[in-house]
Symmetry: C2
Subunit: 252 residues, 2 copies
Amino acid sequence: MTDEVGAQRTKVQQIADDLKAAIERGDYGPGDRLPGENALAAQYGVASLTARRALKVLSTEGLVESKKGAGARVLSFRPIRRRGIPRVASGQWGSGRSIWSADDHRAPDVDQITVDEDAAPPEHVRDVLELGPDETACVRSRRYVLEGRPVMLAASYLPQALVAGSPITQADTGPGGIYARLADLGHAPTRFREEIRVRLPTADEAARLSIPTDRSVIKLARTAFDADGRAVEINEMTLDSAAYVLDYEFDA
Amino acid sequence: MTDEVGAQRTKVQQIADDLKAAIERGDYGPGDRLPGENALAAQYGVASLTARRALKVLSTEGLVESKKGAGARVLSFRPIRRRGIPRVASGQWGSGRSIWSADDHRAPDVDQITVDEDAAPPEHVRDVLELGPDETACVRSRRYVLEGRPVMLAASYLPQALVAGSPITQADTGPGGIYARLADLGHAPTRFREEIRVRLPTADEAARLSIPTDRSVIKLARTAFDADGRAVEINEMTLDSAAYVLDYEFDA
DNA sequence: CAGTGGTCTAGACCACCCT
DNA sequence: GGGTGGTCTAGACCACTGG
């Protein structure tokens, strides 16, 4: 007996596991359509709602994409590797193998770009940036799309008083991006903190990322500090949790 | 107009948002029982299944705990901050201090401890540890429980040939833990890589963590390299995604 | 033992896709 | 227009909790 206490499978899980195994075996390749809920219901002798819930599991996990009129189609899943700490002297360590295969080097498209002056940024942003009661923030928002698939939302907050008049308030920040411009202003980032949480997306996040509402997103907040220890930027990122592998490499 | 394309709310979302707002307002404090599905169904004029799905959203998010005979009770949510980098910095593990004391100030209990010789570790573990076809791995598995709530599973893999006969193969590894013993063996970890993924739990993981099957877990794989660049340990952690904030701090 | 949530069935209406 | 998934209703049985 291989029964595990508490690990008893429901019908939904049974069917979902079967489908996953079939995909893994290659019975269904990328772009192929899985059996519909009615076909599955007939095949397994269950109600169609039960079959649907099994399909829903796969779409929540990001293995398939379910569209209304069409069926559930298998996605070609190639996670993106995001290196949190830039490589320095990578030579000998570059050969260390990683646990999960994932891709680098694919440049995403960027759209939905907005640059605004925000008089009322979130409270935690005000706190970390140490904004006075009348101070505003410069907010740079954008969306990253890889191979037609939205994978990340990002919103950078900077003290408006610090960046007013600089290219940071323009759509195009020039070579080197925001950090190079902060350096021009005498506030080059020297230290970073990244904080990671996982939660369900808001309705708006789910819509902009084109993910089901029960697919988790990774909230990744990076704070940049200048040499004086002042927080000069907060970048709040929202990642499709099925699309990313995060990577941090550091010395003891 | 504040209409957002694709952000239209379903009844389930409406009810779930109302309940969340009520909890946030303090209408329901930690330990309080939310209205049952029948009460909600009557109150909103919807089917009980619809009300249940709203409650399910909250339990997926970790705001409440739903038990069969009892209702859905509000949890006191205090996420654990796990500092990725200082917690393994040298000096922390040489001094007999436990790794967890570098984290929050709350020390978890550890149970479900097993130490085994595993002849067939997962393929990616074989690869990274560069195990030969006949080599085995030492697997140290345990579960961390904080304030009665399971929050993390962990399994460390080490080359059996490297650690055979050392305290690493014992339940109690002595002061400083695994890393201090690896240092005794001349393979002190000098560099670490942490890789982070998010996915749905397996039935077994969900059972051991006592979380619903649709609550995501964070898979955190830490690889430790010695001075020669050899991978000497892989620690595969499985975190309740609602219980943790991960934190990485580093210089530019 | 009454009430609860967990799972499942049977069937409905709608919006959307594809042919 | 037929088939699909998304949402919802109405009702059933079971396992478990609590008084």
